[in-house]
Amino acid sequence: MIKVYASSVIDAAADAVWAHIRDFNGLPKWHPGIAESRIENNWPADRVGCVRNFRLRDGGIIREQLLTLSDYDYQCTYSILESPMGVQNYVATLKLAPVTDGNRTFAEWWAEFDPPAGQERKLAEDIGQGVFQAGFNALKSYFGQR
């Protein structure tokens, strides 16, 4: 089991950042790596248990299931059901915290999973930089840097 952790500071209030990212079906709206997404079985995108089925810009299909969603804690947790990466037991959390000094947002995104043998370093890099940090960079650029 390895853990990948990334964190960043977004120049906008946590309410605003959360409103932008809380939609479990909304990745294509804000994450540069995601081409399109839908929720399976016509479930609402904020019902725990729903599955998002999305396509990466490089063509890969990933299915992820929403495990928790808290508007109070600005936090959601999800697991991977299917992906081309070959990871097992993948559970990730995306969490925001208000920074009262300057009315900004501290954003954290982490995942724990079992990678295929020999892929530890590559997957840690792909997920930490390619998914999490790329997402933060998109948010920073969307909300602007003061």
Partner: protein, 485 residues
């Protein structure tokens, strides 16, 4: 019961912020509202249960107890025991989190407490603004002040810590290097404990391993040079602070380790623009070049110099520095590839030599006159040729002996050319801390200006130090070799 929460981003690595905040008695140094503070009963300021007894600048007197402290999660929890202000059941928690995007720190400060009825807003404001927000600003100011203001609170993390080291088990070959766990005691008076991330490999390490230089008695760890992060410092250390990136080139072997305590006098701060790996690659070799061009011989524009092993660790920096000072640089190397590297780093005339024959080529490159200075790291095998290559009144500087000890030169030979012979040793030049810092500052200054460009072609994990020695002894390497801890 009410809750007050404040949070901020501090522009410093989490280790540096935590080094200050984990010390329960540090607040009178950084918090603008705290006038004085002490820990009751002489307990350590990171001992759970300890009580800090302090006054605020407005005269209030408060006793607070440390309830929990986690160096893994960066969390400190404490409560008020007694106070002259009516805060009841006050429990506060400081949590730090790493901002991986930019190496900054998220600081979350939260408390719950009761107040007399009707005064809720007044005390929420006092705690949130007067204590927490003022604290954020105070700590930022404190960190900006740098090491001088902080030494008093640079307290030891406490007891022994475990690390790994490469230990020389007996004089001999590379098979005498063993990778073993070591215990490193808390730093004593005048000492600093460093978590070492990059370790420089130097030829002197090989001399010591073979038993040529009697600097250690096996079993003992090897290595003269490393860089890393200060864990803690002992009493009377005033120029270093936990979290500082530091480096050293020490006369006492023991650098091949992930963790080490040593006299702080020998340790210098690495400027923020320079990485630990670069520092480990250039400090020992750069200090060597520094005294060779500035002190043993004060090199001037127009001087003609001969640099042996001009593509090696010291050789590359000597070429860069001598060229920068305006000297004509002639170098010896053992292959065409090394000649190209030396030329790229300021060597005007690289000589690819065979069997240590180079005097004729040196004479040819200097119109028959010879060179004013020989920087000789070769020793025995090259002695006759070096003598031949020197111009009258030249300076023979023997600072190493890769091919064996330099044979005695008789006074008559010296007189025949009015030669000067120097046999300098780095650690005599760096023994005075003031001079060491001046020399290191010259080296780092030239790195920052791009004059010294580190050439790191070889990196090995610390556990593979034997392979690094093998590579250096084979003479197949160019530039610096760094072990990563």
């Amino acid at each position: 019961m009410q809750r007050v929460t404040r949070s901020a981003i501090i522009d410093a690595p989490i280790e540096r912020v935590w080094a200050v905040l984990r010390d329960f008695n540090s607040h009178d140094a950084w918090h603008p509202a705290v006038a004085d503070s002490f820990i009751e009963g002489g307990e350590a300021a990171d001992q759970v249960g300890c009580v800090r007894n302090f006054h605020l600048r407005d005269g209030a007197h408060i006793r607070e107890q440390l309830l929990a402290l986690s160096d893994d999660s960066f969390i400190s929890t404490y409560c008020i025991l007694d106070a002259t202000v009516p805060l009841q059941r006050y429990v506060a928690m400081v949590t730090l989190k790493r901002v991986t995007d930019g190496d900054r720190t998220f600081w979350h400060w939260q408390s719950t407490f009761d107040t007399p009825p009707g005064r809720e807003r007044e005390f929420a404001e006092m705690v949130g603004t007067g204590v927490y927000e003022a604290g954020f600003e105070g700590l930022r100011r404190y960190l900006r002040q740098g090491a001088a203001g902080m030494a008093r609170h640079a307290m030891p993390v406490g007891g022994e810590m475990m690390g790994q080291a490469v230990v020389l088990t007996a004089f001999g070959g590379t098979d005498r290097l063993a990778y073993e766990p070591i215990a490193v005691a808390a730093p004593g008076r005048g000492e600093v404990r460093i978590r070492q991330s990059a370790i420089g490999v130097n030829f002197i390490d090989i001399y010591i391993r073979r038993g040529d230089y009697p600097l250690v008695t096996p079993p003992a760890p090897l290595g003269m040079e490393a860089a890393g992060t200060v864990v803690d410092v002992g009493p009377e250390v005033h120029h270093l602070l936990p979290g500082d990136i530091v480096a050293y080139a020490s006369g006492i072997p023991g650098a091949y380790a992930t963790l080490r305590a040593l006299p702080a006098d020998q340790v210098v701060i690495v400027p923020p623009t320079i990485s630990a790996e670069t520092a480990a690659a250039v400090l020992f070799k750069g200090l060597t070049a520094e005294y060779l061009v500035n002190r043993t011989h004060r090199l001037r524009a127009g001087d003609r110099v001969l640099v042996h092993a001009a593509a090696g660790g010291v050789g590359v920096i000597l070429c860069q520095w001598a060229k920068y000072l305006g000297a004509q640089v002639i170098g010896t190397v053992s292959s065409e590839e090394k000649a190209r590297l030396a030329r790229d780093h300021g060597c005007d005339v690289p000589i690819v030599m065979h069997d240590y024959r180079f005097a004729e080529a040196v004479k040819a490159a200097t119109g028959g006159r010879g060179v004013d200075v020989v920087y000789d790291g070769l020793g025995r095998t090259a002695a006759a040729e070096n003598y031949e290559a020197l111009a009258p009144t030249g300076h023979w500087i023997s600072y190493g002996q890769a091919t064996g000890p330099l044979p005695p030169l008789d006074a008559g030979q010296q007189a025949a050319k009015s030669l000067r012979l120097s046999r300098p040793v780095l650690f005599h030049y760096t023994a005075e801390p003031q001079r060491l810092r001046e020399m290191a500052s010259n080296v780092f200054g030239l790195v920052e200006r791009g004059v010294i460009r580190p050439v790191i072609h070889h990196r090995f994990p610390l556990a593979a130090a034997a392979a690094a020695h093998g590579a250096l002894e084979s003479r197949a390497t160019t530039g610096a070799i760094v072990l990563l801890g």
